[in-house]
């Protein structure tokens, strides 16, 4: 659905169900250069099980208009504004990669609005390889190829998508290349590289939090994901073996099962 957030025409997938502000809201926040499309194997499930779902396209990404936001802090604040823009008072957040930094920032800025937090492939800081950053800022397609290489685990490089017929390395690549690379991936990578508040914010988080980590993640390594989880009081950690950074696609079923249990326990539907 389309709606305005801070004057920006914003798109969010509602998981195939009409949006209902009276249902518990889950917001999904994508990673660098990506869009709502990476969440299709999680969002539709919750949308058809009593939740309202918004897989947002950050400004300048996917089907949202405007320019990409330049800092993680701005993105976090913007996600907080999404909640009010659709007429809700609270939400659970699910972030992937850069989306983990964004959702943590959102909790820090809007603690009263956020009920639970799920971090997939996260770390408290995501410093970028200088060459990868340069390539992305120059709109060089090689940046996308490198990102797809790093983002998928050894098994993921062979394929084997849960949805028959999809070849996920190329799916991710096309989602990124849907926009000018420097305007989305380049801006996002720079924002990640600049962001230093992660450890301090993580230490202050005080809400049910789940970290889902890929054992073979080369973008945000397992040890960095564990360090982030250690910063967060009471954080649950689930590790998916033989999986890279794109667990939401590479191991979509396992990811969904873990998320289902966490949401059911900490953000249940009203009885």
């Amino acid at each position: 659905m389309k709606f305005k957030v801070c004057g920006i025409d914003t798109f969010a997938s509602t998981g195939g169900r009409p949006f209902d502000k009276n249902k518990p809201l889950i917001i999904f926040v994508h990673g660098s250069g990506l869009s709502h499309m990476v969440w299709v194997l999680q969002t539709r499930y919750f949308a058809f099980r009593g939740y309202s779902v918004l897989a947002v396209d950050l400004p300048g990404h996917g089907l949202s208009s405007g320019e990409s936001l330049k800092t993680i802090e701005e993105m976090g604040n913007w996600v907080g504004d999404v909640i009010g823009a659709v007429g809700c008072k609270e939400a659970s957040l699910v972030g992937h990669s850069q989306g983990c930094l964004v959702t943590m920032e959102c909790v820090a800025q809007h603690p009263e609005k956020i009920k639970t937090l799920t971090l997939m492939g996260g770390a408290s800081a995501i410093p970028m390889n200088p060459e990868l950053l340069r390539l992305a800022e120059e709109s060089n397609p090689k940046a996308v190829d490198l990102m797809m290489d790093f983002a998928h685990g050894p098994a993921g490089h062979f394929g084997g998508h849960p949805v028959p017929g999809l070849y996920h390395l190329n799916v991710g690549s096309m989602i990124v290349q849907n926009k000018e690379i420097k305007d989305t991936l380049g801006v996002d990578f720079r924002a990640c590289d600049n962001y230093k508040n992660g450890p301090e914010i993580a230490k202050k988080l005080d809400l049910p939090t789940l970290s889902i980590l890929g054992a073979q993640d080369r973008m945000c390594r397992l040890k960095d994901g564990k360090i982030l989880a250690d910063y967060i009081k009471g954080s649950e950690v689930k590790i998916i073996e033989d999986c890279g950074h794109m667990m939401l696609l590479e191991e979509a079923d396992q990811t969904l099962e873990i998320l289902k249990k966490f949401i059911a326990e900490h953000y249940p539907l009203p009885s």
């Binding site: 997938s13 195939g16 169900r17 009409p18 869009s35 499309m37 299709v40 194997l41 539709r44 499930y45 058809f48 996917g62 089907l63 390889n129 060459e131 990868l132 090689k142 190829d145 490198l146 797809m148 290489d149 098994a155 490089h157 062979f158 394929g159 084997g160 998508h161 849960p162 949805v163 028959p164 017929g165 999809l166 070849y167 390395l169 190329n170 799916v171 096309m174 989602i175 849907n178 033989d242 979509a252 079923d253 969904l256």
Partner: protein
Amino acid sequence: MDPKTYKFDTLSLHAGYQPSKNAGSRQVPIYQTTSYMFDDVDHAAALFNLERGGHIYSRMSNPTVQVLEERVCALEGGTAALATASGMSAIFLTIMTLCNAGDHMVVSSQLYGGTVNLFRLTLPKFGIKTTFVKPRDTEGFKKAIQPNTKGIFGELVGNPGNELMNMPEVSNIAKEAGIPLIIDSTYQTPYLCRPFEHGADLVVHSLTKWMSGNGSSMAGILVEGGTFDWMQNDKFPSMTEPYEGYHGLSFAEEFGPTAFTMMARAEGMRDMGPCLAPQNAWNILHGLETLSLRMEKHCSNALKMVEYLSNHDSVAWVSHASAPGHPDKELAEKILPKGTGSMIAFGIKGGKEAGAAFINNVKLASHLANVGDARTLVIHPASATHSQMDEATLKFAGLSHDMIRLSVGLEDFEDIVNDFEDGFRAAKKPRLVANK
């Protein structure tokens, strides 16, 4: 710093398959089953509603077929693929997903005869009309586009005359019109050409041919490039508007670069059901493992054959994009740098009667209605593959009665030549030896 994603030859052996998820089986298992157990009612509902990936019924998807789909998709550089029972069903499924009654297609005139009949005779039954344009008439494609045109379709190298469509330029015409370019790339395979790199949006193949190479199994495939923006205009409401068959799902919004394939599977396979048998998928996978090696030999044998035929006193003309003086030679060198394939058309002196004598007297080359087998194949199109066309359509499609279509195989080249010499000898005295 370079990406370490797998290259073509590696993908042809490994893409789409993880042994660790299949009992460690190094070879792809044949899942000879119609249906798949659900964990519980919730799992079943989620699968039926496209909430999660997986298999329900082998008409829609099958794990063996899935490996083939991903492998071809990886080789083509696409985002998604859907295998079908034959190349023709891949084309039919593509057009039925793209068009509604009242829509129109612009189509290259030089196509496999069955494809011509599909567009000329069968699709009008469903209210879908076609304007045919000669493959070299690039401007003609632009002129033929109407407000209700939903796509441009063509074979890059036309069957059987070997005329090339200027894919990059026709792609620009399609982009300007906001419609997709669909290429039948059967003759090339992704080893010789990856059409998405030249502006195509959708690719179809008959996998029965070079992709398999063994002549054992029928199969086809639709591959999506993920490049086409279905929401750029209001031409494709079935892709962009809520679809009643899945609770108001908008395929374009939800699935983006894989929307067309998702729609083709969810609607087309569900309602029409031209599914590929897992045994056939497995046979094609075997062929794919040696695609590069076979295509190199096909092309090298074809080059020698062009030279041999061009210098033969029984041959009136030779059409192959590598041949000296071929009008599309420059374009072919640009789009097909690894080779222009192994299909050759040539005219035999003495016309139809001589052609019949030639075909009846070759013994190594097989006279049959297929191309792309590992073995050398010959046929007289005007009396076989394109026989359902009238004289005017034959002429428009670039066919003549003296034309012989040759699919050069992998045999020792000298043995093919010796066989052809027997055929040419007989063709010089057709009345004496036509019926051996």
